[in-house]
Symmetry: C2
Subunit: 337 residues, 2 copies
């Protein structure tokens, strides 16, 4: 089998090795596709070298089929189509209060332990979700980011007919927009990148370029002064933090999806004045994976449009180099077959 | 009757005039006591001269008895003990979505129209809440700030047995602490002022001076790493904004009670990482007034301890001057009888 490894210094190696037998409670997966996440690019940039044990096979947005099951594993058989929910929460403590998906000692599979950018991958059986046999494994590789979007929308408490503003239409922002629309919201997207604006519009979204149009004025007019019921901050930049409190209406909910690496200037007065809520949202829970798989299976989301390209696993080095040079790109999949 | 008027330039006048008859839908109240709110001090400092129509009788934390009722008023008779919920929400629009207590065109009685720092006060009947006859009208003058605290605690979703940290133990912070404890929370107060620390401790609260003790370490030890379930930010200062995300545990709720006059540096990463929530809370709703009156009537909160002094209405000028010079003080009442 072929496995890729992050070696530090913006370098991946491609190595040949034998597929290991799955240990007790584990399953060996024949990986079909593995998407490249922003976090993977972050790792490639060396930003997480303190956390990542080099050399490491990374990758966590995958689809595949069960290849072999270890002792004590029930409910999975070779040939089953599966995705992995890459959260190892076995380090849970009482002070985590049962909030397992973000427990203090959470290990993220593909960052803290080997990931899916290889042909065969052994994971604990408790991380698996079975897919219906008819599911397209290319689209299924989007399950993980789609589950992020399902989590974000679920925590927002979005109700049918509400207005949702999505700040930033990268892969996660676009998936959030798709899920929010599917749940009956009227979605307005704010995005600077022309290619992403074009894609958002192709997908039927009302889309504003805040460098040329005032998003606040636009939302005010568009909603007859009701403003947004829900705002998803998916951009990670200061201007979005400024606008998020302005576009939210009375008791609006702002979901913090983006990772802000530094403290930001926040208009706390607006939180007080309009009784806004800020809701942090990180990864997903089991129920979000189930929701994502149901959406995927229903086949009603235009997920294919989010796949920028599919490249052979052994091209991983050029794939990461190209992603770096293409801020317009959405989701690139590595074909691990 | 005597009425006081804010004249601008840190000056109050005391004027003699006839009590007006209550118009249709209005009630004339014989004011008993009127507390001095931080907002009143703000007005005195000239900070709200753009909003306040000088000369104006201010004051909104009051108690009194019905003196006369205007045409069309039902349910109130002379002699009834009452408090006023000083929110005139008659300007509600559809875009307020029924969230009347913070509607865009809300008029705050005592700021946007004449207030209670006078002997007789005419207000719309819909602002009145009746008090049981046995209630002490001095304590009843705390109904308004107590309703703020009830609102804050209600919006926090506080459950019995949870740990609540209150940042800042001025009158509102102390009332929040009392209400939270009454609802079964374990309360930790953070306060810098020695006199307020002493009062908080007299009232039985675990109290930390963050200038000499690390609040974060204290809460960590005190809770065996669970950290706070709920944090009430009642101080309005940047250091509290920094600490609020640190003392909150997984999915902790932070209630923004304070008025931050300028944008603050907020660690949004912590909101993401721990799935924190920030909940803006402003004034109160009808149900909060009812809760406050029930607490007051039950007589189980040590509200008397929060009353720093009771001064004759005609001494208003010296009262405000003294409040300015006494950062340790809590609630001063004007005796309007």
């Amino acid at each position: 089998m072929i496995a890729t490894q992050y070696e530090g210094g913006r370098t991946f190696s491609v190595v040949e090795r034998a597929a290991a037998a799955p240990g007790r409670g584990k399953v060996r997966i024949k990986v079909a596709y593995c998407g490249v996440c922003g976090t993977d690019v972050h790792i490639y940039h060396g930003m997480m070298d303190q956390r990542v044990k080099i050399p490491l096979t990374i990758g966590h947005e995958m689809s595949g089929t069960v290849d072999a099951v270890g002792e004590g594993v029930r409910g999975f058989s070779p040939g089953d189509k599966v995705v992995v929910r890459p959260l190892d929460d076995r380090g849970q403590k009482p002070s985590d209060k049962g909030i397992s998906h973000i427990c203090e000692d959470l290990k993220f599979i593909g960052i803290d332990s080997p990931g899916a950018m290889q042909q065969y991958w052994n994971v604990p059986a408790f991380t698996l979700h079975k897919l219906p046999p008819e599911v397209d494994l290319r689209l299924a590789a989007l399950t993980e980011p789609l589950a992020v979007a399902c989590h974000d929308v679920r925590l927002s408490g979005l109700k049918q007919g509400e207005v949702a503003v999505v700040l930033g239409a990268g892969p996660i922002g676009m998936l959030v927009a798709l899920v929010a629309r599917k749940q009956g919201a009227e979605v307005i997207i704010s995005e600077l990148n022309p290619a992403r604006i074009a894609l958002a519009r192709e997908l039927g979204f009302t889309t504003v370029d805040p460098s040329s149009t005032s998003l606040v004025d636009f939302v005010r007019e568009h909603t007859q002064n009701f403003m947004a019921d829900v705002v998803f901050e998916v951009s990670g930049v200061q201007p979005a933090v400024e606008v998020m409190t302005q576009v939210a209406g009375l008791r609006g909910r702002i979901v913090m999806v983006a990772i802000h690496g530094q403290p930001r200037m926040v208009n706390l007065f607006q939180f007080f004045w309009k009784e806004l809520q800020l809701i942090g949202a990180r990864v997903y829970e089991k129920v979000d994976y189930e929701a994502a798989i149901a959406l995927l299976t229903a086949g009603e989301l235009p997920l294919q449009a989010l796949i920028t390209g599919v490249e052979p696993l052994r091209n991983i080095q050029t794939v990461f180099e190209q992603i770096d040079q293409n801020p317009s790109g959405m989701k690139v999949l590595l074909d691990c077959q």
